[in-house]
């Protein structure tokens, strides 16, 4: 049954009201009585030794409450920032993760590195005083690119990490891949660069910490995608406070895209300092600070070789990647270029042999960690560029070569050579629909028409796959994860029949307050305006793992279903008692409990009331209607699809115009098509941004970030983007109760390869991301 508010309906978002009237409550909107303001003194150098630190003058400045440093943190026993995923190198040794104090001790290792926190009565006073802190830096040689950092004789960034190598990891069968290559009819070889990008959620990161001396409790408001993970790490590893004395609240959060998963220096320091100073402290990043110190994304240098037989069937793939992890290993930095990357190199294809090796190198740049897609966009970029180039080199149509290699719809479960088991999919169907939508047959005529106007037209494919809902816990644990990756949900009926759902997922734009409410409305027949979704407060919701990796619906939504199952089970007992029937005879559909074969029934609201006013109630059932479930998935989910981009290049200026974009995605079952489409649009904008506009550039000479503001870092604007044509096909996921796969990252994963394939198709030669006007112009001019 699809109702107006049930599963499958494009319900308008419940959360929108507060945002459109200016009543959203983002972190910087919150103030506390007696609040002070924090401002971080940051390194102006890429790499330097701190010979002397003198805050005397700053401490004497008006309105200064404190100047706190790394040694102060250390003296209070505050532990360093951690990386939560252990990677083992080829030689069996664990990854190297040098100590990362929340404020620098002795050395600074990138421009923007946090050196001290100045706390002032006003922000202006804190900033004024920060200028008075005198630091004697002795500059050291630096390196910003990973290839340079891993080369012989590179400047050493950490004394305990020889050659700047954090790990040298491999996956797959090297001998088999090499044999496939040596026996192949054709081998495509390419060097590919996956450019570094900066996430740029529109709300900058922020923290507001408050200490209650009466209860000895610290409350940390922070811009987090996973407040319980923040609490766990800050307590267990940093030692800020015992877990039960630390409350982490992530209020309305203005976008994350991965960058707000991680436990950063700033909130760690604020959480510690509030107790030390016994004053609330607010820190809000300026955009320029965000550019310098948010975890960046991507930054791979890759050499790939793809082997084909004469029919274009892929025989093997061998990939060697150097991944820039920045100056320290951020929270999940080690997982991104390994288990979120290498495991997806099979794409949508039957590939008999795959081998990937990844060297992770430290550089004098901001830490690099998960950014929308995290590893999977990098994998799709390799696979989809290689197959496209292979098709060009072999003279096979790019759509056709993919069809020849797709895993067949009846081949599931399909085990890949890189430890994934795909549960479901129909790749050829997505391709057919995409080709039909873009009118692929008419492309040559359109290209000829463009040529008459002096323009170069191109078309490009990306048949992407991703792995979402990262799970199950036992599997990720065996691969090195330091946490479990389940999710929690608590479904609480109020006596009058309304419902509050507490979820461990966190919405920072995804629309959980609507989607999750639809599940409840659909399954329990509760009007959607009677359902409230509560998230983001460790003081309210059960321990949960948060939102990233397109996991909220597949894992968090499934947890809600599990809690609903318990509600239904209990309700059946109450209905059986009240209706004087046996539990086995009670049938449930959408919140109506009826005795089979009779017209006797009770509604969910009546049962909930009865549970709280149990005057006529089964003796063996507890009062109340409030159930909690924890759900650990059986497997990852595997959203996939085909995107086709059509572009036109002005060869005189190198400008690329995206003329058309068709996306056909398989997200399994869809709860709210409107929200799903919106997620695809947003992902596409970021993927297109990476391919066309965005590029994080550190100056090799100075180590300075050259793209440190919107003046130089090109964010996609409305007039850069086309109108996307988005469709879904739905092969239900077989491993979760909702049959859903996840949609948040698809666009960002699919887009770069589709766009670069289209641009290089137009140019008739290969260039790499980002396809800036000058780069395209040079290619078009044969310069």
């Amino acid at each position: 049954m699809t109702t107006e508010t049930g599963i499958g309906a494009s319900v308008r978002r419940k959360e929108d009201k507060r945002f459109i009237i200016g009543k959203g409550r983002y972190l910087d909107d919150i103030t506390k009585p007696g609040q002070t303001y924090g401002y971080f003194v940051r390194s102006p150098h890429a790499h330097a030794k701190i010979n002397n630190f003198d805050a005397t003058e700053a401490l004497n400045a008006p309105g200064v409450v404190a100047v706190l440093t790394g040694p102060d943190l250390e003296a209070d026993g505050i532990g360093p920032i951690i990386c939560g995923w252990g990677i083992t190198s080829k030689d069996g040794t664990p990854h190297k993760a040098p100590a990362h104090p929340a404020l620098a001790i002795g050395h600074v290792r990138y421009v923007g590195h946090q050196v001290a926190l100045v706390v002032g009565e006003t922000l202006q006073e804190a900033k004024n005083a920060a200028e008075l802190v005198e630091i004697d830096y002795e500059e050291l040689p630096h390196v910003v690119e990973v290839g340079d950092a891993l080369a012989e004789g590179a400047p050493q960034i950490h004394a305990d990490v020889p050659g700047n190598l954090s790990f040298d990891w491999e996956l797959g069968d090297k001998a088999a891949a090499e044999q496939a290559i040596s026996n192949a009819h054709h081998v495509t070889r390419m060097d590919l660069r996956n450019n570094r990008v900066i996430p740029n959620a529109m709300e900058p990161r922020a923290a507001l910490s408050e200490y209650d001396m009466g209860t000895d409790e610290i409350t940390l408001y922070t811009t987090s995608q996973n407040p319980h993970v923040h609490r766990l790490v800050l307590s267990a590893f940093n030692g800020v406070a015992p877990e039960h004395k630390l409350r982490v609240i992530a209020p309305d959060v203005g976008g994350g895209f991965g960058s707000k998963i991680f436990i950063y220096s700033e909130e760690t320091v604020c959480a510690w300092a509030t107790k030390k100073l016994n004053r609330p402290i607010k820190w809000t990043a300026e955009r320029s600070e965000a550019f310098l110190s948010d975890a960046h994304g991507r930054d791979h240098e890759t050499h790939a070789e793809m082997a084909f037989d004469s029919y274009g069937k892929i025989l093997g793939l061998k990939v060697s990647t150097k991944a820039n992890v920045g100056c320290y290993l951020s929270t999940f930095a080690s997982a991104v270029p390994t288990y979120l990357y290498g495991t997806l190199l099979n794409g949508q294809y039957t590939m008999p042999a795959i081998y990937v090796e990844v060297q992770a190198g430290f550089t004098n740049t901001a830490p690099v960690d998960a950014y929308r897609g995290a590893g999977r966009p990098e994998a799709t970029y390799v696979v989809e560029r290689m197959i496209e180039i292979g098709a060009r080199e072999m003279g096979i149509d790019p759509g056709e070569i993919r069809k020849r290699n797709f895993i067949a719809p009846d081949a599931y479960p399909y085990e890949t050579p890189v430890i994934m088991t795909y549960d479901s999919g129909n790749y050829a169907l997505a391709m057919d629909k995409a080709q039909e939508a873009i009118e692929y047959q008419g492309f040559e005529a359109r290209k000829a028409e463009s040529a008459q106007r002096g323009k170069l037209r191109g078309i490009g494919y990306s048949s992407f796959i991703e792995a979402c809902g990262i799970a199950p816990s036992a599997a990720v644990g065996s691969l090195g994860a330091g946490v479990g990756l389940w999710e929690s949900a608590q479904v609480r009926f109020n006596p009058t029949g309304s419902v509050t759902v507490f979820t461990g997922s966190h919405s920072h734009g995804q629309g959980h307050e609507t989607t999750f409410a639809q599940i409840i409305s659909d399954q329990l027949g509760v009007p959607i305006d009677q359902v409230e979704i509560s998230h983001g407060d460790t003081g309210k919701v059960p321990f949960g793992m948060g939102t990233y990796g397109s996991r909220s619906l597949a894992v968090g939504g499934s947890a809600i279903v599990k809690a609903v199952d318990k509600i239904v089970e209990k309700s059946k007992k109450i209905a059986a008692h009240t209706l004087e029937a046996s539990v086995e005879d009670i049938e449930h559909a959408h919140g109506v409990f009826s005795v089979a074969g009779t017209d006797k029934k009770m509604t969910m609201a009546e049962i909930a009331f009865s549970a709280y006013v149990p005057h006529n109630y089964p003796a063996d059932v507890e009062p109340g209607m409030d159930e909690t479930a924890f759900y650990d998935p059986l497997n990852f989910t595997f959203p996939a699809g085909t995107h086709i981009a059509e572009v036109e290049i002005d060869p005189e200026t190198g400008t690329t115009e995206i003329l058309d974009w068709v996306a056909v995605d398989d997200f399994g079952n869809v709860i709210n098509p409107m929200i799903v489409e919106g997620q695809v649009h947003g992902g596409l904008a970021q993927g297109i941004g990476q391919a066309l506009l965005e590029n994080c550039v550190y100056d090799k000479e100075s180590g300075q970030l050259l793209t440190g503001s919107y003046m130089d870092y090109c964010m996609p604007r409305a007039d850069d983007l086309p109108t996307f044509r988005v469709q879904t096909i739905n092969t239900p996921c077989t491993t979760n109760p909702l049959g859903v796969k996840g949609c948040g990252e698809a666009g960002a994963i699919a887009a770069p390869a589709a766009l670069m394939n289209a641009i290089t198709n137009a140019l008739g030669k290969e260039i790499d991301m980002p396809a800036t006007p000058e780069k395209v112009w040079r290619a078009a001019q044969d310069l």
Binding site: I20, I21, Q124, M202, G255, M674, M715
Partner: protein
């Protein structure tokens, strides 16, 4: 400290402010109208857009003292009581927002755009949003929202 007086959302307000107080700071901190946001420090993202004497302006790039005597409208002043402005309704109806952070500035820009331009099409709407950055939506549903509201507002 100079005293600054202006009309904000129809109400006369007056306060002593340092000359280096930005209009956005005055709105957020002095008036506690926190629907106007700050998303960058180079006058580009548009999260802080308000109307100054009927024209959209970036309140992060104006001093409060420059608004002396001005009529300011913020997102909080757009609805008439509980009656939402057509642009606000349209953003909800057309899923023109996700995280909501850029939304208030986006709506203020869009209202000014529709007030000043007739016959808005996709291209002119996209051009008119040049000063507002959204990271969530890919803009498609924002364009759709503005277009639908324009039709409603032009009646």
């Amino acid at each position: 400290m100079p005293t600054v007086s202006m009309t904000v959302n129809g109400k006369q307000v007056s306060a002593d402010v340092e000359p280096n107080t930005l209009l956005v700071t005055f709105i957020r901190e002095n008036l506690r109208l926190t629907g106007t946001h700050v998303g960058c420090d180079t006058s580009q993202c548009g999260a802080c857009v308000v109307h100054v004497d009927g024209n959209s302006a970036k309140s992060c790039t104006m001093l409060a003292v420059q608004a002396e005597g001005a009529e300011i409208t913020t997102i909080e002043g757009l609805a008439k009581g509980s009656d939402l402005h057509p642009m606000q309704k349209s953003f909800q109806e057309n899923h023109g927002l996700q995280c909501g952070f850029c939304t208030t500035g986006m709506i203020m820009t869009a209202v000014d755009m529709v007030n000043k331009q007739d016959n808005l099409d996709d291209a002119s709407i996209r051009k008119g949003l040049e000063g507002n950055i959204c990271r969530c939506t890919g803009y498609q549903n924002i364009v759709k929202s503005v277009k639908a509201a324009a039709q409603e507002m032009e009646g």
